[in-house]
Amino acid sequence: MALSTADVARLAELARIDLSPHDLERLAPQLDVILDAVASVSEVAGADVPPTSHALPLTNVFRADLVRPSLPAEAVLGGAPAVEDERFRVPRILGEEQ
């Protein structure tokens, strides 16, 4: 299926992972092998077998709309590398708004 280094560079950019040209050259063929291995599943499943998205044959698993205790803020923020004003402090984001 030939995953190009350009494909990998694009994915890395979306995932905000900094990869050097050397990394790209090395990883693209490795990822390609992984994708090939996964793709072999399609050889087993015929066109009449729909893709499975869930391992369990269940539907409509719902929770009642009840409030349960949340974690204390200290616990939540305790694992963060940087905190300010009871908020997670993160590096500035360039050029994108969600």
Binding site: H54, D65, F88, E97
Partner: protein
């Protein structure tokens, strides 16, 4: 600053095509996939848990009430309800979500193919609904640094209280044929949805609080063409006025580009309250979310019986309710249009009527005196601080002759100043009209004595001169007299 084409010139050359994407936060007690408190506000990061923080090993479970709300919204918009649908992961990397994806729905929305009829300035527009899907809201970022705008920020601070709030996305099909009315129809569409969400009681639907957010898409088609132009999507449109302003601005901006032989870039734009839009990220670049079915959540398959059960809970459609109330209240079309055009007044009048006032009196107070005060204070009518029951009480005092209309305004002053109920304000401020003939008679005598010339004219039959003396008596009584009674006593004395 962008070059803008004159709006009328743009309308002469192009037909705008709208597309509205509206996000509605549900008012469920708990979040979409976890039991964290979904009420607004609170100290930062106090309403989170391993699920909404996306910690490893946590497992989301769908809030059944949110699914119920989604189906009710879809039914109210005349949608089909999917017999089977799944959640999907929308992958993106941005710190407003810890998981690096938003749990959403992709090509299997829970509701689809709906429509609604909008009445704007006497014309009816049919708006086709493409889909209603379920997802979760993201956390809130504060951009610290020199400018406060994201590009100039040194770093950002994140509060995840809102992350995981149930969010419904309602998307229209392209809306054509609106012509110059496009901005007004866009605004009316938002107003309609807001009214509907409140009638369904599924959301607080307060745009200013971000409960309801609109992404307004617009493109221009040269007149006579039926090929869709390149659209832009304007975000941060957080009031009805902004919806109209943003659409109008984009029409004028795109018109200037096209008329100059240029090409409109497909992009996200950011609305500024001062009345302009600026470019955000470019769509072709950013939109690569690599959706796939959410493996941690099983499919949602609403039974037909459940859907019908929910259909039976739908409230009376707002347009139908308006027609019914107009009939019951005996308002003319013009009177009703004023009511509908005055944000929130319909519900307030209905509640005031329910509290015992006549429809005409309720309408008079809310659209007159109280609207004026709300405008002055820069608040919504419902945020003024006067309740329908208080308005009914004031009107009852007027009907009983305890106060006149002029004094009633002072009663509202007192109510707004927190001096208690209307009756308590009348008591506390001594506002009751003096109807004691003895006291009035004395005041009339004094006015006659002070103005012998005028009194003589009235004795001579010049009844129209009575106004001057009545005015003096009212002044002497500080407005707290029944003017008709004063007139009667005066004419009796000078007969």
């Amino acid at each position: 600053m962008d070059e803008l084409m004159d709006y009328d010139d743009a309308m002469a050359a192009y037909d705008p095509v709208l597309g509205m994407e509206v996000h509605v936060e549900l008012n469920t007690a708990s979040k979409m996939f976890c039991g964290c408190d979904n009420s607004p506000g609170g100290e930062p990061n106090t309403k989170t848990c391993p699920v909404c923080l996306g910690l490893p090993g946590s497992l989301p479970v769908v809030n059944g009430k949110a699914v119920e709300s989604a189906i009710r919204i879809g039914l109210a918009l005349n949608c089909q309800v999917a017999p089977w649908c799944r959640f999907a992961r929308k992958n993106y990397f941005y710190p407003d979500m810890t998981k690096n994806f938003q749990t959403s729905q992709y090509d299997e929305p829970i509701c689809f193919d709906g429509h609604l009829n909008l009445e704007v300035d006497g014309r009816t527009y049919r708006i086709e609904i493409e889909r209603v899907h379920m997802e979760e809201d993201a956390g809130k970022l504060t951009h610290a640094g020199s400018t406060g705008r994201i590009h100039g920020a040194e770093y950002s601070l994140v509060d995840y209280n809102r992350a995981g709030t149930p969010l419904m996305e309602i998307v229209t099909k392209p809306i054509r044929g609106l012509g110059e009315h496009a901005p007004a129809v866009g605004r009316a569409y938002m107003a309609h949805l807001r009214e509907l969400m409140r009638a369904l009681d599924v959301s607080d639907a307060r745009m200013e609080a971000g409960n309801m957010r609109c992404d307004a898409n617009v493109s221009l088609m040269p007149k006579g063409s039926d090929e869709l132009g390149t659209r832009t999507e304007t975000k941060n449109v957080n009031s009805l006025r902004s919806v109209e302003g943003a659409l109008r601005y984009e029409i004028q901006r795109q018109g200037a580009i096209l008329a100059g032989g240029g090409r409109v870039h497909q992009e996200t734009r950011h609305w500024h309250e001062e009345g302009w839009t600026s470019p955000g990220r470019s769509k072709e670049e950013a939109e690569d979310y690599r959706y796939f079915p959410e493996p941690d959540l099983v499919p949602v398959a609403p039974s037909r019986a459940w859907v019908e059960e929910l259909r039976a809970t739908l409230p009376e459609p707002p347009a139908q309710r308006r027609a019914r109330l107009q009939e019951a209240w005996g308002f003319t079309d013009l009177e009703m249009r004023d009511v509908v055009g005055n944000e929130g007044s319909l519900d307030l009048i209905a509640a005031t009527v329910a509290a015992g006032a006549t429809p005409a009196a309720a309408r008079k107070w809310w659209l007159g005196e109280l609207s004026r005060r709300a405008n002055e204070a820069g608040v919504d009518l419902s945020g003024l601080g006067v309740t329908p029951a208080q308005v009914a009480d004031v009107q009852a005092l007027v009907d009983a002759g305890t106060v006149n209309d002029k004094l009633a305004r002072q009663v509202f002053d007192g109510v707004l100043a927190g001096e208690g109920s209307p009756a308590e304000v009348v008591e506390g401020r001594g506002l009751a009209v003096v109807s004691d003939d003895g006291a009035l008679g004395a005041a009339v005598d004094a006015a006659i004595a002070a103005n012998p010339d005028v009194a003589q004219k009235i004795r001579d039959g010049k009844v129209q001169a009575a106004g001057a003396l009545i005015g003096q008596v009212m002044k002497a009584m500080r407005g707290k007299a029944d003017a008709a009674r004063v007139r009667a006593i005066l004419l009796e004395k000078l007969a």
